[in-house]
Structures are given as structure tokens and as C-alpha cells.
């Protein structure tokens, strides 16, 4: 029995070990940042590799914790993202005073996400969610000298607390009407009871806050702008992905009886999210704000895929997130390097970037193309499969809307490409020397962007693991 738990919770346990190790490093004798960073990156790689072996299915703690191959895969995608973020923030972390603390916070947050994804009970879900959010707010404050950073942390913790409150209220209404919090049992009690519909709306609002879907997105841009780039990357990729995974599994598992209701809700949310995200992204000049709004629009597309509510729906979600990890982190990677070495974070600073930094320019361009959904990058497949999954409902108005909005998003991504390649700049960003670790992460991202789409086995594998409605 005990050994069983070790296997089921293997990813969580490894992560906990890492956390303890970091504590020991901290209290141990002084070591250079480089040593610590290299060690952490190697351990994260081991962590990722360990996750790939032996898929196990089952539950523990009286159904509080469940896992299966699909969930293991989702966690591994998050592990991959953490590894990439860590490698890319090398330049930033190298001169930071509190390396160990930063990773402590990030790992704790990730651990919370793991429990959230694996939750078989709304209580467990809530615990995981809180465990993942609170350390993040501290991490957002990690540009210790910048006021904007503390502002971001404050905004993040307040809006998270607010949304958690809403979620909790929804959960308690559900408990009040059904008498259980277990996801498996709950389904049987869900009906058209107005109280439950209200609870559902509260629950969705809470989730929408976390994934920054419109109209619950207002915190996103400020927090993204103020936080250190590594945290912004973490927020926009890892934390969003974790919540989306959980959201989807709860929708598909628990709220099946009111599928028509949540289809309508998802459509409204996705239309608003895509539209607002796109319109605001056009006008941004700060790169982090730009990526914030574009990531809002991306969430809108994800919601369309989820609304397809089939096996293809959840498969395309995970597939898209995997691609999004590669493409968004490649973009953030370049921004991290530029911001750490020059302090410049505006799109207009990137004018003439190609003349001085061709390698970084290509990485950024490929990443942006993938985010825009241009073949042969993986983003094309990711976005198309999301829309295909959504089109299964044969709501062609929605699909037309989404397809035309892809053109709008194309416009702002191309604007950046235009600045990089075509525009002149009197004070271009000088030639930057990229740390080897960061470079390696960028190569991994670009390789991922190119192969994840064209190599169809990735999608087929995800599809074979996924379970639909």
C-alpha cells in the first residue's frame, strides 16, 4: 500500500525532495549562484525525465488524490515548462541575491498545481490552488528594487484572494445542495437546480479569474508588466495551464448533466476573451503587456477547443498547451535576456534588432509565428485543432469569428516582426552575449515549435490518453 503511494505520488515527492534540498542549500555554506543554478537545472531535468517513466493509474487518500496517464502527462508538461523557464532566467538569476528562495517559491507553487490537477475532491482542489497562488505573489515581488514589482505582487494577491473567495463560495453552494465534495459522487447530484447553476457560475467566474478570461482579466496586464520576466512567463504558461487542465477535467467530469449550460457560458467567455485580448494587444508597446494581452486572446481560443467537449477537446487543449509552452517561453526567453542585459522591454526598442542580434531575432520571430498560428510551426496545428474541436458543435458563427480573429492577432504579431526586421533604429539594442544555458533552452523551444506540429505522433499520443466527456 505504502509503496503504491510512492509510485502514484512520484512526481509530487520528487518535487518535495527538491524543495527540501533547496532549504539545505540555503542553510549550508555559501555557494556561488552559478553552482546553485546549474544544480537546479540538472535536477529539474532529472525530475522531467523521471516523470516520463511508468504511467500509473489510481487514487490515494480516499479518493482525494487521483492520477492517470493523462494527468501524469499534464504534470510533465508543467515540469518541462519549469525547466525551460529556469534555464532562460539564468542571466537574470545569476546576479540575484536570493536564488534559492526564488526557486523555493516557484517549486512550492508547482507542487500546489500538481495536487490541484490530481484532485479528486473539491477540497483538495482548493488546497492545491491556494498552495500554488500564494508563493507566486511572493515571487512576483522578486525584482526587489522595483516598485512596480511590489505593485504587481499586491495586485496578484488581492485579485487571487478575491477569485478564491468566489470559488470557495461556489464550492460551498455545491456542497450545500449535494452534500458531497467528491468529484465522482457530485455528478449524480447535479441538475437544473437554480442554486447549483448559481454555484456553477461562481465556480466558472473563479476559474475565469485565474485564466484571465474576459471580463475577469483586468489584473493580468499590470501583474505581467510588473513581475520579473521569469515570473511573468510562469504566470502566463504554467499557472494558466494548470488551472485550465483542472477546469476542463471538472467541467467534463462533474458538470456533464448541464453541458448545454456551460457550452453557452464558454462561447460567451471565449468570444469576449478573444475580442478584448486582441483589441488591447494591438495597442501595447511594452513587450510584457503585449504578451499578456495576446495570451488572453490565446485563452479565448483554448476555451473554444474546450467547448467542443469531446475527446478531441481535451486532447487539443493539452496539445495546445504543450505547444504554447514552447512558443510562449521562446518569446519570453528572448525578452528575459534583453531585459536582463539592457533593461529594455518595449517593442519599439526591438526596431532593427535583426541587424545586431540575428539569432535572438529568429528565435523571437519563430515563436511569434507559432503564437500567431502560421505553418509550418506547431502553433498552426495547435490552434487549428482547437478550432476543429470547437467546430464539432457545428457552431460556424463562432468558428468564423475565431478564424477572422486569428487574422487580427496575426496583425499584431507581424507588427513585432516588422519592427525586428524592417524598421530602422538610431539606438538599436547592442549585440548581446546569450548565456549557454539560455541558448540551449531556446534551441529546445525552437525544436519543439518545429517538430511538435509536423510530427503527428505527439498529437496522436495525447489523443490516445485523453478522455472526453
Amino acid at each position: 500500500m505504502l509503496s503504491n503511494i510512492f509510485i502514484l505520488l512520484r512526481q509530487e515527492l520528487i518535487l518535495s525532495l527538491l524543495i527540501f534540498l533547496l532549504l539545505f542549500i540555503k542553510i549550508g555554506k555559501e555557494r556561488s549562484n552559478e553552482t546553485v543554478l546549474n544544480l537546479i537545472n540538472i535536477l529539474l531535468f532529472v525530475n522531467l525525465a523521471a516523470g516520463l517513466f511508468g504511467m500509473s493509474e489510481g487514487g490515494a487518500f480516499n479518493g482525494m488524490f487521483t492520477t492517470n496517464a493523462f494527468i501524469v502527462l499534464e504534470k510533465n508538461i508543467l515540469n518541462l515548462a519549469i525547466l525551460l523557464i529556469s534555464m532562460q532566467s539564468y542571466a537574470w538569476m545569476k546576479h540575484h541575491k536570493q536564488v534559492a528562495e526564488f526557486y523555493l517559491l516557484i517549486f512550492t507553487s508547482l507542487l500546489g498545481m500538481f495536487f490541484m490537477i490530481s484532485s479528486g475532491n473539491l477540497l483538495m482542489f482548493y488546497l492545491g490552488l491556494e498552495m500554488s497562488t500564494i508563493p507566486l505573489a511572493a515571487a512576483a515581488n522578486f525584482d526587489l528594487a522595483k516598485r512596480k514589482s511590489s505593485e504587481a505582487a499586491m495586485k496578484l494577491i488581492l485579485s487571487s484572494a478575491f477569485s478564491s473567495g468566489i470559488l470557495l463560495m461556489g464550492i460551498s453552494f455545491l456542497y450545500g445542495t449535494s452534500g458531497t465534495l467528491s468529484l465522482d459522487v457530485l455528478t449524480a447530484h447535479i441538475g437544473n437546480d437554480p442554486m447549483q447553476l448559481f454555484a456553477f457560475i461562481l465556480l466558472v467566474s473563479g476559474f475565469a479569474f485565474k485564466i484571465s478570461a474576459v471580463p475577469f482579466h483586468l489584473w493580468t496586464a499590470d501583474v505581467y508588466e510588473g513581475s520579473p520576466v521569469a515570473v511573468t512567463a510562469f504566470l502566463s504558461v504554467v499557472s494558466k495551464a494548470a488551472v485550465l487542465f483542472t477546469f476542463t477535467s471538472i467541467l467534463y467530469k462533474v458538470f456533464t448533466p448541464i453541458a448545454t449550460v456551460w457550452y453557452g457560458v464558454l462561447v460567451v467567455l471565449s468570444v469576449a476573451t478573444i475580442l478584448i485580448g486582441n483589441l488591447f494587444a494591438i495597442r501595447q508597446d511594452n513587450f510584457k503587456r503585449f504578451l499578456a494581452f495576446s495570451s488572453i486572446a490565446q485563452v479565448g481560443f483554448i476555451l473554444i477547443g474546450i467547448s467542443g467537449s469531446s475527446q478531441a477537446g481535451s486532447a487539443s487543449l493539452v496539445y495546445f498547451v504543450l505547444i504554447y509552452v514552447f512558443s510562449n517561453l521562446a518569446a519570453f526567453g528572448v525578452v528575459t535576456v534583453v531585459s536582463a542585459l539592457t533593461g529594455k522591454e518595449n517593442i519599439s526598442d526591438f526596431k532593427g534588432f535583426y541587424k545586431t542580434n540575428p539569432f535572438l531575432s529568429w528565435v523571437l520571430t519563430i515563436a511569434l509565428f507559432s503564437l500567431a498560428g502560421v505553418p509550418p510551426t506547431a502553433g498552426f496545428f495547435g490552434k487549428l485543432f482547437l478550432m476543429m474541436a470547437g467546430a464539432a458543435k457545428e457552431n460556424y458563427g463562432l468558428i468564423t469569428f475565431a478564424a477572422l480573429n486569428m487574422v487580427v492577432s496575426f496583425f499584431y504579431y507581424l507588427k513585432v516582426v516588422k519592427a525586428i526586421f524592417m524598421e530602422e533604429n538610431e539606438q538599436p539594442i547592442q549585440k548581446l552575449s546569450v548565456p549557454g544555458m539560455t541558448k540551449l533552452a531556446m534551441y529546445i523551444c525552437v525544436a519543439g515549435i518545429i517538430t511538435t506540429g509536423l510530427a503527428s505522433m505527439v498529437y496522436d499520443y495525447i489523443y490516445s490518453l485523453s478522455i472526453g466527456l
Binding site: V374, P376, M387, L404, K415, K418
Partner: protein, 493 residues
């Protein structure tokens, strides 16, 4: 022969270009790669004709069908019929000519040649695809290189033109995508052959045909979505203009043709709209050209008019007119590439494209001037050149439709040829005849690469113009097959 070779060759060329060290290597690799493509296309033609002569009547030859995304029933299904092969030959010719013309490109030459080759890969992939998803994939692959080529190496207000072109083409593919979704969820397949056999129900056809036809129509400069053409072509560097007009616009025409064959009922019921838009494009394009003073704009606007003939031929939905549309695509591709090449050669020497500032060029650069005249004469449809054959076939096909409206459209379109003659003769006359200004008195004539490029395209034009039966022999069986479905739809009415 495995058709994937047509994708792999450009891919290999592009990778080698990335690895190459200096301009000389890039040029050699680029030229060798494009010649290999041309060789492969020629060899394919021989094999194709051999198969046909041996009595192989299958619609698509050299078919391969590999599962790509199993879960979504997406296959990498490739194969060609005569029409696709004609397009492949056209692309191969234009690619070689385009690379030769950009021989002296020195600004970021590696990226430039890389993007050109990537663009050609998209075109080949598009023409060999029998699976709608693969088709769509390659259609979009070809968009980004155009954006970068125009935006980085172009002239004038290049950034705006590049953005306009990319966004309009992307909007086109967005429409195509919606149409594809409609087909997919009603037939559960992306396979054009399979869908063609199964047929699509009438309601679905009528709803989704406009999406697909308009989507591809934007690529083919269908009125009123032609506005990307003039700016895009005029701002692009020479080779990119040649690729755009010679290959890329043909993606649209080819797509429209395939969609009309795939949804014949809808094509038939909407044919009057198609004809109307095509006629407007023809007339509007011709008159708009009259007003232009920039050589590139002249050719760009006349392209709108000429591509109108392609749409007109498809819209008439009979065998002769569709044949004409295909020949017009090939002919316009060659002719317009030649035209842009000649304009590029003139521009690189005189540094102006304004008709008013040019004159008497025949005296100093006779070869380039002759090329320019040949392109012009082909464009106005002089017998002996491909333009005549193509336009005649389209008109003959169009006239077969005895309905009053169609007759009227045919007459109007045919009358546009007069306008074409006016602007072509005026532009060529002013440019190459008359007194020559002093600053242009010492220009050097074409270099070997320019001569080679022009010669290649002229040979293509002459083969179609003088021996039209050759191309007819190639595409006729394919149109026959397309007509089976279309005729069925028409007789049902």
C-alpha cells in the same frame, strides 16, 4: 516517381542555403536546387505522359496516401492530374527565372534566397495535395515568406504593402478554414478524392461554397478583394513580384477550380455571382491600368484583369472555359513573371519605373527592350503567344453559355482586350521608342543570368502559343474528369 520529392528538393535547397558561407555558394546552391526542381518537374511530365500513353486512365497519378493525424482523419494524400502538373511546371520555370533574376541580390542574401525557396516549397506542396488539410497547410506556408520578402527587400511603402498583403491573404485562408470545417464535419473527411466520390449534400454546399470560393478568390485577386495586388506587387523585389504574380496568385485560381469541382451544385447556382465579379475585375482592372504611370503598377493592375479571365472561365463551368482558365493561369504566370523580370532589369539600370521618365531604351538595351515587348504583346493577346490561346479558349467556352446574362458578360470581357491593347502599346511605345534621355544613354544590356531567365520564360510562352495542342493534351483528361461531376450537377437542375 514519389511526388514528395517536389517538397524535399526545395527543403534540402533551403537547408543548404542556411548552411552556406558566402554569396557565391548561396547562388550556386540556389540555382542548382531550382534547376533540380525544374528537372524533376520535367521528368515528372515525361513519366506522366508515358503513363497516359500506356493507357493509365486513373484520375490522379503517382498517388501516395499516408496517414498524418490519425485521430482527426488527416492524411498526407498526394497525387497529380494534368492541371496540377501544368501548375508544377509553371512554378518550376518561374522559380528558376526568379532565382536568376535575383543573382546580384546582396542585402541579406542568405535570408532572401532561403525565403524564395521556401515560398516555392509551399507552392509545390499545394499543387500536389489531394487532402484539403494538407492543401490548406501549404497555402499558408506560402504566405509568410511573401510578407518578409516584400517587407525587407521591397521598395516604396513596403511595410504597409507587406502587411496588407499578409493580412488579406490570411483573411482568405481564414474563410477557407471555415469552409473546410463545414466540409469536414459533414463528410468526416478531408480527402478531396473521397469527398468527390461521396458528394456533399446541397445545403452544405450552398452554405460553405462562398467561404471557400471567396477565400481562394482573395488569393486570386477576385474583385473586390484585389486591393492587396497592386501595392504588394509594386513594392516587392523583382523575384518576389514574379513569384507572387506567377505562382502565388495561381494558388488561388487553382483552389477556386478545385472547389468548384468539389461542390458543383453550389458552383452552378452561384455561377452568376462569380461571373459578375469576374467581369467587374476584368473591366475594372483594365481601366485602372490605363491610369497607371508606374510600370510595376501597370503590370499589377493588368494582373487583376487577367486573373479575372481565370475566374470567368471557372464560373462558366463548361469544359472549354475551364480548359481556358487553366491555360490562362499558366500563360499569365509565365507572361507576368517575364514582365516583372523585364521591369526589374530596366529598373536596376535606370532606377526609375515611371513611364514618363523612360524612353528610347531599345537603342541602348535592345535585349531587355525586346523581352519587355514580348511580355507586352503576350499580355495583350497577340496570336503566336500564350495569351492569345488562353483568352480565346476562355471566350469560346464562355460563349457556349447561351443565357443572355452570360453572353453579355462574355462580350464585355472580350471588349476589355481593346483596353489592354491601349495601355500595353502606350507603355511599351513610350518606354522603348522615342528619344532617349542623356542619363540613360550608357546603360549596359542584359547579363547572362538575365538572358537565361528571360529565355526560359519566353520558351514557355512560345510553346503554349505556337503548339497549344501540347498543353491541351496534358490538361484535357483532367478537365474531362472534373466535368463528370459538374455536368451531373447541371443536368440535375
Amino acid at each position: 516517381m514519389n511526388l514528395s520529392l517536389l517538397i524535399l528538393l526545395p527543403l534540402l535547397t533551403a537547408l543548404l542555403i542556411l548552411l552556406s558561407k558566402n554569396l557565391a555558394q548561396i547562388r550556386v546552391i540556389g540555382l542548382a536546387g531550382s534547376l533540380a526542381q525544374l528537372g524533376a518537374a520535367g521528368w515528372l511530365l515525361k513519366l506522366f505522359m508515358d503513363q497516359r500513353a500506356a493507357g493509365n486512365t486513373a484520375t490522379y497519378l503517382f498517388e501516395t496516401n499516408t496517414v498524418w493525424f490519425k485521430a482527426l482523419n488527416i492524411n498526407y494524400h498526394i497525387g497529380i492530374d494534368g492541371i496540377a502538373l501544368a501548375m508544377i511546371l509553371l512554378s518550376a520555370l518561374v522559380v528558376v527565372a526568379g532565382l536568376l533574376v535575383s543573382w546580384t541580390m546582396e542585402k541579406l542574401s542568405k535570408e532572401y534566397f532561403f525565403l524564395l525557396v521556401l515560398l516555392s516549397m509551399g507552392a509545390y506542396g499545394f499543387f500536389i495535395s489531394l487532402d484539403l488539410f494538407t492543401l490548406f497547410f501549404f497555402l499558408e506556408v506560402a504566405v509568410i515568406p511573401k510578407f518578409l520578402l516584400i517587407g525587407i527587400w521591397g521598395s516604396g511603402k513596403k511595410e504597409n504593402s507587406a502587411m496588407k498583403l499578409a493580412l488579406m491573404l490570411m483573411a482568405g485562408s481564414a474563410l477557407v478554414f471555415v469552409g473546410l470545417m463545414g466540409i469536414y464535419y459533414n463528410t468526416h473527411s478531408f480527402d478531396m478524392v473521397q469527398i468527390g466520390q461521396m458528394g456533399i449534400s446541397l445545403g452544405v454546399q450552398k452554405f460553405f461554397f462562398p467561404f471557400l470560393f471567396l477565400g481562394f478568390g482573395i488569393f486570386a485577386a477576385l474583385f473586390p478583394f484585389h486591393t492587396w495586388v497592386p501595392d504588394g506587387h509594386a513594392s516587392a523585389p523583382t523575384a518576389a513580384s514574379m513569384f507572387l504574380a506567377g505562382i502565388s496568385m495561381k494558388l488561388g485560381g487553382y483552389g477556386c477550380l478545385r472547389m468548384a469541382a468539389l461542390m458543383p451544385d453550389a458552383a452552378h447556382s452561384y455561377s452568376w455571382i462569380i461571373i459578375l465579379l469576374a467581369t467587374i475585375a476584368i473591366i475594372y482592372g483594365a481601366f485602372a491600368t490605363m491610369m497607371q504611370t508606374d510600370l510595376k503598377y501597370i503590370n499589377a493592375y493588368s494582373s487583376i484583369s487577367h486573373c479575372g479571365f481565370v475566374i470567368l472561365g471557372i464560373g462558366m463551368l463548361n469544359k472549354t472555359s475551364i480548359n481556358g482558365a487553366v491555360i490562362q493561369m499558366v500563360s499569365h504566370g509565365l507572361m507576368t513573371a517575364l514582365f516583372f523580370a523585364a521591369i526589374g532589369m530596366i529598373y536596376s539600370r535606370t532606377h526609375t519605373r515611371m513611364v514618363a521618365q523612360l524612353g528610347g531604351l531599345l537603342k541602348v538595351i535592345p535585349f531587355i527592350s525586346s523581352v519587355f515587348v514580348i511580355a507586352g504583346l503576350c499580355s495583350l493577346g497577340l496570336p503566336g503567344f500564350s495569351g492569345f490561346v488562353a483568352e480565346m479558349t476562355v471566350f469560346m467556352g464562355a460563349w457556349q453559355n447561351s443565357d443572355g446574362f452570360y453572353r453579355f458578360a462574355t462580350i464585355i470581357s472580350a471588349a476589355s482586350i481593346v483596353v489592354t491593347a491601349v495601355y500595353i502599346l502606350r507603355a511599351t511605345g513610350k518606354t522603348i521608342m522615342g528619344p532617349i534621355s542623356d542619363e540613360h544613354a550608357l546603360l549596359g544590356d542584359a547579363t547572362w543570368n538575365e538572358k537565361f531567365a528571360a529565355g526560359l520564360l519566353i520558351v514557355g510562352i512560345l510553346i503554349i502559343g505556337l503548339a497549344p495542342f501540347l498543353i491541351n493534351q496534358l490538361i484535357m483528361p483532367a478537365t474531362d474528369f472534373l466535368m463528370i461531376n459538374i455536368d451531373k450537377a447541371i443536368t440535375l437542375k
